[in-house]
């Protein structure tokens, strides 16, 4: 029911202002400017990339199901939630809330990479700890194998295998204790790990043993990974081994080529008008670029473009209206231009805010 509940919640947020396809791309984690913009505007951050492997056909079946239950209405590609649907959604989220730390945007692909590395090194250390060197790795990704090999080689110069195993074990234990403390269940991660003569459990097996929906298990599992990465980055001194394991895991900025060019010029200190003149483009095009940058780059500040009091005002309006029709919003803050509103909408995505 978890996927269904999330779809309901998304339909609720969109208020019929986007088609169901937008929901699919959002949940499957499509890294396009359009999807990211939807996420920002409609405050759907917690839902982005919740179900990376979701198939279009599965999604279509879910919509059919929701429709049949009369939890939504469907008119061409526009879905709207019914009162019954709202109730179901609320009840289900109480039973199975979105886990803390989950951030499908920030850790897009990074969580996958981190997991492959983690599972490979644990498998290696486990075999070493049992005096066994040859084994079939569960992790087959050549990039990961290559990275881990280099990593182990570098560490091998500083300490013995036994020390390495012990250090890794200690770091992992204290990391997981911290994760546990924040309300996430480390069993979901630990039992998925493979070691000496101990293959990990599959998601389905975990789901069956704990009697929880498999998609939900997958999300909880990734939330643990996200929590771990956050903690490692926050306290690198406390987790030196893991810090060196995640150091190169960065999200590449995905900007269109033209936007990247605009960004370079912005960084060089030019303003929108100057860039437009330099590049012989319309100022409105450059504004589009700036909005895209604000969406995609978490470190980008919109302060040079919109004054703080105006930002504050627009945010207030956004909090009090659910519609994301620009014209409507502008009606409440006539002094703001569309560019400012879009920038504030875009930047909201990054500010730390409540989950649901």
């Amino acid at each position: 029911m978890f996927v269904e509940t999330v779809v309901l919640a998304c339909i609720d947020r969109f208020q019929g202002e986007r088609t169901v396809n937008a929901i699919y791309y959002l949940l499957a984690g499509k890294m396009s400017a359009q999807t990211i913009q939807d996420v920002a505007w409609f405050e759907l951050r917690p839902y982005f990339n919740l179900f990376p492997g979701l198939r279009k056909s599965e999604f279509a079946e879910i919509l059919q199901f929701l429709h049949k239950q009369k939890w939504i209405t469907l008119d061409r590609k526009i879905a709207r939630i019914t009162e019954q649907g709202e109730n179901i959604c609320r009840i289900e989220f109480q039973r199975f809330p979105l886990p803390p730390h989950f951030n499908g945007y920030r850790f897009h692909k990074i969580d996958e990479k981190f997991w492959s590395r983690l599972s490979l090194i644990v498998q290696i250390f486990s075999h070493w700890a049992h005096d066994e060197t040859g084994f079939l790795p569960v992790e087959r990704d050549p990039d990961t194998q290559w990275m881990v090999k280099k990593w182990l080689f570098a560490l091998g110069k500083t300490r013995s295998r036994q020390e390495l195993i012990k250090d890794c074990y200690k770091e992992l234990i204290s990391l997981l204790k911290m994760v546990n403390h924040e309300g996430l269940n480390p069993n979901l991660l630990v039992y998925r790990l493979s070691g000496y003569r101990k293959p990990g459990l599959t998601f389905r097996q975990l789901a069956e043993r704990l009697d929880i929906d498999e998609p939900y298990i997958r999300v909880l599992f990734r939330a643990i990974l996200h929590g771990m990465i956050l903690l490692i980055r926050k306290y690198p001194k406390q987790f030196p081994l893991f810090a060196s394991l995640v150091r190169d895991l960065q999200q590449p900025l995905k900007l269109t080529r033209s936007t990247a060019r605009t960004y370079d010029l912005l960084k060089a200190g030019k303003n929108v008008t100057e860039i437009a003149r330099l590049r012989q483009l319309k100022p409105s095009t450059i504004q589009d670029h700036v909005v895209e940058i604000a969406l995609m780059d978490p470190d980008f500040s919109i302060d040079p473009f919109v004054s703080s009091p105006l930002q504050e005002k627009i945010r207030n309006v956004l909090q009090n209206t659910r519609s994301r029709k620009l014209r409507l919003i502008k009606g409440y803050v006539p002094e703001a231009d569309y560019f400012s509103i879009r920038l504030v909408l875009a930047s909201r995505f990054k500010s730390p805010e409540k989950n649901t």
């Binding site: 056909s57 050549p142 039992y191 389905r204």
Partner: protein, 493 residues
Amino acid sequence: MNLEQILFDRFSYRSFRPGQKEVIESVMNGHDTLAVLPTGSGKSLCYQLPGIIRKGTTLIVSPLLSLMQDQVEQLKMKGEKRVVALNSFLSFSERNRVLNHITDYKFIYVSPEMLQNEQILEALKRLTISLFVVDEAHCISQWGYDFRPDYLSLGTIRQYLGDPQVLALTATARRKVRDDIKKQLRIRKGKEFIFSIDRPNIAIIVEKLKDQRKKQERLIELVKLLQGPGVIYFSSKKMADQYANIFQEEGLRAASYHSEIDQEQRILLQQQFLYGELELICATSAFGMGVNKEDIRYCIHYHPPVDLESYFQEIGRAGRDGKNSVAIMLYSPDDIYIQRRLITGELPDDEQIKQYVHWKMNVLQQWGENKNTNAPEEIPTGFTETQWRLLEKFSRNINDSHHFVKEMTSFVTERLAIKSKLLQELTAWIHAPGCRRENLLHYFEEPIEKHVISCCDICGVDLSLYYLKEKRQAMSGEFDWKKHLAKLFNQNE
């Protein structure tokens, strides 16, 4: 040169299994070689050993991605690190890295699809290929099971790569198939080795039941009675899932295995099965290849497969350790409809061909001839993956849609005729009087040599020989992550 010594030094085996030495000697003497060796007899050693001691690169064409990965890892485990698999799992950047360093590799596994790629062929051409291995060579023949159209171009590719020496390996090949292999791979004067494919330690049983309901009852009864580990083959993923659940509820450590489960989870399931944490796999035909489990005690076909070659391959996964094992096929007359559907389901019908042409023409109009932009994100609804791949293959040089439709249709018609024939032969075998083993071997053009004690249901088998001997282990207990982690790292908690 002492082959036994090399075998021990590099592979830590004391002696060769039947057939291996003859094939290796033939390869070492430079002959093109076709070898028919039973499954589980260590076919891969036949090229791995020569590959390690000879100069040049060994190129292995293998149709199964998971199998390829397994063999790469196994070679690495044996200390040969200069090995790589070129397949669709590689990302674009990884592929480029491999291709730029192609001469560093001693063993290169490649899927037939990848060999259609010009960039890859160019890179391979830079190598000195000492041996061109075609694994699962029966895929080249329409009469073999698991025919793969991409295999048909291997002869041309061999020529393009400078006519390297060939080693064709298969576990099942009747005369017709062997002739096809030699013709397609352009083996003119070569050596042929055919070893008995009989597996006398596997008893062969067919149980005829009235309908699906009776089959269901019997299956559950059998699984409770028999000593595992076991594999049950189903014709659909959904049924494999359903029965895995049923058996779990009966307290068995069971899981389902099919192509919809992602690679990581599949590897975990294989390993769990290998280490005895699972006792029962409910599978589709996706299960098997590359699973080196020696002690599978029974194999049940809940649905019969579509031909005797598949059947033989699948039961051959039992009893690799040489100990007594049993293969049971549950058959009811209405199975024929399921089998027919399996056969036709792999091939596109007229309506689908029409639909495809429509789609393709649209794409070509939009994108021009640029091939890379054609692939849809997901296979459109109404097509199976096999169907889609086939259509894509035949349309590679599509410029005349009428010509394409004609070619595709005649291909489909021919395939259907052959598959129906193979299905008829399977059905005939099920109903034939006389010893099942003898009939099966006869089909594979092999005389029966020795008398087998637990032979088949016709000759008489005491099924209780295969009944449960050990007490069933329960599912493992409560979760305790600290304890588990300590165990993994071999540390005190």
